[in-house]
Assembly symmetry: C2
Amino acid sequence: MSSLLDDLRAIVGEAHVLTGDGEALVAWERDWRKRYRGRALCVVLPGTADEVAAVVRRCAREDGVSIVTQGGNTGLVGGGVPDDSRTQVVLSTKRLRAIRRVDADNQTITVEAGLALQKVQAAAAEAGLLFPLSLAAEGTCTIGGNLATNAGGTQVLRFGNARELCLGLEVVTAQGELWSSLHGLRKDNTGYDLRDLFVGSEGTLGIITAATLRLFPQPRAGVTAWATCRTLAGAVALMRRLRDAFDAELVGYEAMNAASLALVERHFSALRVPLPLADASGQPLWSVLIDLASPHDEHVLRERAEATLMSAIEGGEAVDIAVTRNELQARTLWQLREAIPLAQGVEGLNIKHDVAVPLSSLAGFVAAADAALEAVVPGARHVTFGHLGDGNLHYNLQAAEGNEAASFLASHEDAANACVYDVVARFGGTFSAEHGIGRLRRPEMAARKPAPALAMMRAVKSALDPRGLLNPGVLLPD
Amino acid sequence: MSSLLDDLRAIVGEAHVLTGDGEALVAWERDWRKRYRGRALCVVLPGTADEVAAVVRRCAREDGVSIVTQGGNTGLVGGGVPDDSRTQVVLSTKRLRAIRRVDADNQTITVEAGLALQKVQAAAAEAGLLFPLSLAAEGTCTIGGNLATNAGGTQVLRFGNARELCLGLEVVTAQGELWSSLHGLRKDNTGYDLRDLFVGSEGTLGIITAATLRLFPQPRAGVTAWATCRTLAGAVALMRRLRDAFDAELVGYEAMNAASLALVERHFSALRVPLPLADASGQPLWSVLIDLASPHDEHVLRERAEATLMSAIEGGEAVDIAVTRNELQARTLWQLREAIPLAQGVEGLNIKHDVAVPLSSLAGFVAAADAALEAVVPGARHVTFGHLGDGNLHYNLQAAEGNEAASFLASHEDAANACVYDVVARFGGTFSAEHGIGRLRRPEMAARKPAPALAMMRAVKSALDPRGLLNPGVLLPD
């Protein structure tokens, strides 16, 4: 193996090939949720796309070696860490972080894959424009990882997932060739959509080294509001009322059940939920966070927001509302929403599901899943929240109050997953809305993805990466 | 062959397998622009997706037979008609025209592939919603064809191409298997994006039999305006001002040079251009058509539109403006725009280019292409118009006044194409923005598409259709 390491050092420079035993490489070998801990052959950090291509060509000549591409290592399904075979080269994109071009007239930005999402947002803002992809890990995650996993986040409702924000890619293929479509074109109908094939392929078809992304005007006005609803069906009806009233100005719509916010209140006492979590009779309420952004003047947006929310109370969808007066108040509401997964972590290990169903089935799905789970994991707490506007819920389970979390996870995870995904399937939903497959959801891929889809995916993988060089063990089942 | 025909009749019914010599099948054998005239083995019209699958399986067993899927036969690049070998079965989707479901809460509609685009729009409108794909052939073209070619049209600026409007597909694969993703989910990260691979594949990877499409709220207010600009750069600057002021409310932005509107005035005397085509000194002006749609009240939109356009005059981007007062006036402006290709047809055969470049390069591209062409086809008239908001121009050439059109086309088309596409490439553009490849643009695919992209496309084609059963001779070069 020393000759492979020597050759890699010759390509990227001595300092950019990392090796070592024990905990030396743990930052690259262990995933964010600490569910996977692999052992890498080495970590290599190329500084240019050409170096990436040379690394791929060199690894392709070495029998039994494969490549795991890693961005910020913030993925939630173990798709960016090596297995424990010591035969995998972790290719980190962290040194590919140039902003190649901001084209304000074309409303595009071209950046390298290893740039942190927050830096992409900042570069857009500096040009007076908006890059709307936004998620909790944005300070650490990279745009390359966002694209490789087709990341979602809090503004999908208006702007779409990472895929919809990407106009072109630069990719190193499994053959070590460089392919570029960094043209910044809104329309290009010249053959198959290779771009969207690489987006969401989790490093298994090619290595994204740069991307041209869409930018948008900065909104002139924003209004954030909080509302409570008696039922999830009410929250869906409120969403529909807002969508009809605001169309593209409805940017985000998050729902949270009372249990999820109660956890936040328990573990982050500085944060205060603006409206009661239960009605006068003690019945728990759903809370929703509404984000509106408009090119019109603030008073136009605000008056319409208040009027629409008032009619939602009259119409019975909402119990109570609170409209923020300024940016600081708005940020506080978002902190509440973002604190939920953190509060869950403090409370203890839990069983996470990232599911989506059609909006018209959302309330029915949660009712059916809650009932089905009570038979499988009696007493477990349902921490249900997420991007309701996209039909996407983080439908999580926490051990019953006072029960030990680790043993809860160990004894119930498989049964709970099977139960939830059965109900998801019954309501026409998906077992992975935005987190992807990685290593974690491969069993579900094998069991639940329709056979013709799996066959086509395998055929595509064999066609583009016949040697199985790129991220084997991820996304596709064996 | 009689046994193949018998078997096809057994699958779809006697009445739905058409054969015949001479002109009997000409409606299926000749393309819309009358550039291609093939000879089909037969035309088969399945009534269900299962029948489509059975037809595919039967044809796959017959050596030397292939399948050309056809929707409304309105394509502009010859991708939907058979060659003259008499070995191709034309599979018409025209009997697959059910509206399977309108889900207003989920804002989706599921329709079969052969339904006319206009009928999809109408079904959405009946549910109080909007399906925004809109193009000149909408009364005849089918949604299946729109998806197979990733159709564009007049509202791409706001809503995207057909691909961005599609949430899921039902497809018959080249193996005659039925694959469905008609789930209506906004988010689904479970493996490779097969949907976007079929969208735009021009019938070469599978046969789309149904689709679930996104719907939007009907706008509350609309304003259409006309403006003239001294230069194309001015029209681009005006576009940017409007985008900043209106964001998603800017739905359409079309530009037309003076020559294109002069042809409309010549051949459609009932239509009147609202603003002069030249300034006081006789200098020709560019005209732009602006479409705004808003969820806010009409007076909010109208006041802002008038104020923004007035500042565009003060800022020097626009020379003059005309804002419509009602829907009828707006429709008249759109008729002017839509009459351009018709007027070109009446004027005589012409050389068409459907190109796109980044908006920041648009004015530079047209100046360079005009100059380069003057050396290749001196005196030809430049009929330049299109979806400026998307960077997409129909950059067409008409014979010099009084010259014979057919011989103009015959003697200059190849040289003009090479010249235009060279300049397009220099400005980072594409030789097919929305019309696709079909048979017409295969030489450009061979000559101009980067080798790694072509290699990957061929690999994908071989992976999904190893026998070459589906639409050979289209999209990919030999």
